[in-house]
Symmetry: none
DNA sequence: GAGAATTTGTACGTATGTATG
DNA sequence: ACATACATACGTACAAATTCT
């Protein structure tokens, strides 16, 4: 009965934006601050969502810069 | 029970300095770096405090220059 | 004009506290 | 007890705008 946690929902949204190509490889994800306001959640929730994508190796985060969409691994590796 | 947040307290102090005339219209507010050290808080806390005054239209901030006390609106404008 | 220093702008990293279910 | 979610507050890093030497 428990609804899907907000941070999982947000991770799902962002993952879909990457898979669909809306967020291109090597491009920046929206900042934590932007995602906070855009989705009406706290920074902690945003960070947990992005953390999921990081664990899935879909994105790479650099302090002071932002979070980047990783290039998909070329086939045959 | 929660104490007033530091950034609200600092905003209150700065607002009072403006209202009282200690900080004159068109003069510069102390820099973020100065306010940090002077009040023993982090830069983020200073920025949130100044952000409150900005929302109240008591000050105007210019990147690379500083934050200025706004001149009170002359009657009839 | 070049370069350094200052100041604000933006972004992520971490810790703690509170509240709810 | 635990997970979720929010807010506060510290810090670091990098970038951009401006000023000064």
């Amino acid at each position: 009965m428990n609804p899907t946690p907000l941070y999982v929902q947000l991770a799902d949204i962002l993952r879909e934006m990457i898979k669909s190509g809306e967020l291109q490889p090597r491009s920046l994800l929206p900042s934590e601050s932007y995602l906070q306001q855009e989705h009406g959640v706290s920074r902690g929730t945003v960070r947990m969502a992005v953390g999921i994508l990081r664990e899935e190796a879909l994105v790479v985060t650099i302090a002071g810069r932002g979070t980047f969409v990783r290039a998909p691994e070329p086939k045959g590796q």
